[in-house]
Amino acid sequence: MNKPQSIPRVSLTWLLIAQLLVIIPHLGHLPLWVVGLWLGCAAWRVQIYRMRARFPNAWLKGALMLAAGIGVFVSRGSLVGLDAGVVLLIAAFVLKLVEVRTRRDALVLIFLGFFTVVTAYLFDDSMLSAIFSLLPVSALLAAMIGLQQSTLATRPWATAKLAGSLLLQALPLMLLLFLFFPRMGPLWSLPGANAKGVTGLSDSMAPADIAELSQSSELAFRASFEGQPPPRNQLYWRALTLDRFDGRRWSQSGFARLPLQPSWRKQGEPINYQIVMQPSARPWLFSLDVAQTSLEGTRMMSDFRLQRKQPVDRSLLYNLTSWPQALLEPAASTETLRRALQLPDGGDPRSRAWARQLKQQYPQDEQLVQAVLRNFNRQPFHYTLRPKAVGVNSIDDFLFETRSGFCAHYAGSMTFVLRAAGIPARVVAGYQGGELNPSGNYLQVRQFDAHAWVEYWQAGKGWLRVDPTFEVAPERIELGLEEAVAGENSFLEKSPFSPLRYRQLAWLNQFRLAWDQVNYDWQRWVLGYQGAQQLELFQRWFGKVDGRWLALCLVGGGAIVLALIALFLFKPWQHQRDQQQRVFRRFERLLARHALVRQPAEGPRDFARRAAQALPGQARQIQQFARAFEAQRYGGQGQSLAILEQHLRALRRALPWRLT
């Protein structure tokens, strides 16, 4: 076994199939030339097998590697980072195919393949892709089995069947390991997948951005509550605050990025809930009002938002406790207040004048805020996703001319007016509402639930939330965007096939909700099954647990599972003699249909002789079977059972057909 061996055909077949299956999930983020490279390499390797092409020599191999490296650099702009790393890995995986000569090379290729499957999980960890990944894994195992088989084996399906049964038998053990293997935090940090093209909130907001979000039905996050969720009009999912205004856009100031823990006091009833966020490529987390989380590497920033060290680049599960009535920064620093009063140097003179007028009219801040809200309510403001265009003085134009727009307009203009009137205020960006999945009792919040509202500050009372949109379009808050814009048909107008547009079709809606729940459970119980989740589960099941207990469960459970599999495989109750006996019983049953029943004391030979006399036409076949049976059973002849079967078949064919 020392000399290098060539690769059996079965193995090569499965290697090719496995490569295709391994690459398929990566197609979404692979440059096209890699696919071409694969096709070329596969064709080349097949030609080598058919002896119509040669293995590449060292020069060619080097040149190909170099070309692949350059290709990755050109299409990804770098050779490091997860994205480029994966493309490089796949290019190597594809190129290796051409130079696979020996079984050792093939093993390297197979192990590379397993690793490539793992990298696919970093890009897509949905349930469907997990199920799909069983295909390349089976194919890789089949290739591995093929390597052990003799070069004469030519039945690829038998090999795949064996691979499948190995995987199936490994499944219970894998579940045990998955449940009980202790989870730990990352040992070192690695570059994550680039969540490019992810729609979602950003750290600056012009009204058009929100309008764009409102056209997207993509999921932002799901939330499940302990007990009854709060009423819909209380579901203000905070993401971040925007405290800088340049005349057109609201954005996050540099000050807000500083990790300064603001002072606050818990008040009122806490709400406990869990959120599973979709990748957002942003570091902030969503929460109701002000919240605390046990998630590691997360802290509260100066504007009460929760922020992680790294951006959320894959779905993230965290538990939260919110205090909607908490007192937020009753004594804010002058720096904070100064920023909450910032305005551009000029522009929007009418709004500023109106603010001054209001200030004179209402010396009390709270009265002033109410007056602004009343203004939205009384004046002919119109909630629409298709606002009329505004000029340079965008706030003036909106407040006094067009009076049509959506949350971003209302929140932005109100904050402007409050600031101009000397009341510290800021825009809050986040989501509002969400769709309740009745069967799973959780909320789905989508991008079109994006919302903006206002927070203003009062000495001793801290930051207080007001939502000017509610004054204009209460249905947006009470029912949702779809109802708010029902009149103009602008809901998801750019995605005509979104199932969300067909909620009135009951069966479709039910299917959509059920499917969403399956995915949510997958995220919560499979993807989110990390340290805290694991501990929580065990504590719920078994009370207090520790590491020793886990190890015991793992070893004990493993032993039981293994014993069961061994029993299934070895079938110690089954012996060859029984198998011969079984064939003989079939022989007896066959003859019994022709009224020939073996007497209790009659041996096989005597019985056969009697049967042969009774059925002279089939005497030869009967005798043949009996002789073979005797030779195998008593003669100690290590013959094959297949021969007995063959004789029995011959006899059955020779006998006239009879039912019982």
Partner: protein, 325 residues
């Protein structure tokens, strides 16, 4: 130190797997450990686990655990592929020194198929074969015969890495394989006086080593003729069955006497071996005298084999004929 361990290992092995002509592999005989490929596999799994931990990716954990479980389940499968396999040693023909000794081993399946069974001595190159369910396969193990006497190759290694190659299940079985290695026949003259009588005048009894002038020609085959003298070349040319005819050296029976030869033992045995074969081919009766052994005048295959056996075992401690201790 290493030798001490080796001999202890051998003693332990002899107790655990005593020699037997037929052997059924079971947990008593089968050992199993991860192979080098298995070590690579485990290394790959560790890398995957590191990726799972660092990316906190449950699916990567899942695949790592799945393949880890496959490794464990493969222990059963690898063991199963060897377990229940019957090994039977078949008859082995004697060979001459310098020839290739062939041992027949039959592998039989009791129940299930045994795929990719590897058999042989690691130094000689191993043989791979499949055994279908409830049937058998024959393996012929070759070994160069380098010295005269009983050739006992010792324990045969049976191993299986099927299905995944990540584990190797093996056994060293002693199938009591043995065969006789006859001395290498070396052409040469017999000394004068090899004739049984002591009359030196009887020149006709003198046998020549060259044997060329003893060859008389070809004649038609008769059923009583030895098949060894068939002239196959003539047959292949379509001349019919002919036998090579030798002049029967008239009168005297020939005595092959070890003590009448002058050279070292092995050379004398080689010469005697040559003459045993020559005379048997000519169907001429002869006797063989070795120190301590005398085989009376006779001819025929049985006589030849007896003489060859005596030559082979000359000087060895084994009693003649009898099986080895």
């Amino acid at each position: 130190m290493i030798q001490g361990l080796q001999s202890r290992w051998n003693r332990w092995l002899a107790r655990r797997i005593p020699p037997a002509k037929n052997l059924r592999l079971s947990q008593r005989q089968i050992f199993i450990i991860p192979s080098r490929v298995g070590a690579m596999f485990i290394l790959a799994l560790i890398l995957m686990l590191l990726a799972a931990i660092n990316y906190q990716n449950s699916l990567a954990y899942g695949l790592t655990f799945l393949l880890g479980s496959v490794f464990i389940v493969a222990i059963l499968h690898t063991y199963l592929n060897l377990s229940g396999l019957m090994l039977k040693s078949g008859p082995a023909e004697p060979v001459f020194v310098g020839e290739h000794a062939r041992f027949n081993v039959r592998l039989e399946s009791e129940r299930r198929a045994h795929e990719a069974i590897v058999l042989g001595w690691p130094s000689q190159g191993m043989l791979q074969l499949d055994v279908a369910a409830l049937s058998g396969s024959d393996a012929e193990l070759g070994l160069p015969a380098t010295s005269r006497g009983w050739l006992r190759p010792g324990r045969v290694r049976v191993e299986s890495r099927f299905p995944l190659g990540i584990l190797v299940a093996w056994s060293w079985v002693d199938l009591d394989l043995q065969l006789l290695v006859y001395p290498r026949p070396v052409e040469g003259d017999l000394p004068i006086g090899a004739g049984l009588g002591d009359d030196p005048q009887e020149q006709g009894a003198r046998a020549h080593g060259s044997g060329a002038d003893d060859f008389q020609g070809l004649r038609a085959y008769q059923p009583s003729d030895s098949k060894r003298r068939l002239h196959w070349k003539a047959y292949s040319r379509g001349l019919g069955l002919l036998v090579k005819d030798f002049t029967a050296l008239s009168g005297r029976d020939i005595s092959l006497d070890f003590s009448a030869l002058a050279s070292d033992t092995e050379a004398r045995l080689s010469l005697l071996c040559y003459w045993v074969l020559q005379l048997s081919e000519r169907q001429q009766p002869f006797s063989l005298a070795l120190p301590g052994v005398y085989i009376g005048v006779d001819s025929g295959e049985q006589h030849r084999d007896r003489c060859l056996r005596a030559l082979t075992l000359f000087g060895s401690s084994f009693a003649e004929p009898g099986a080895p201790a």
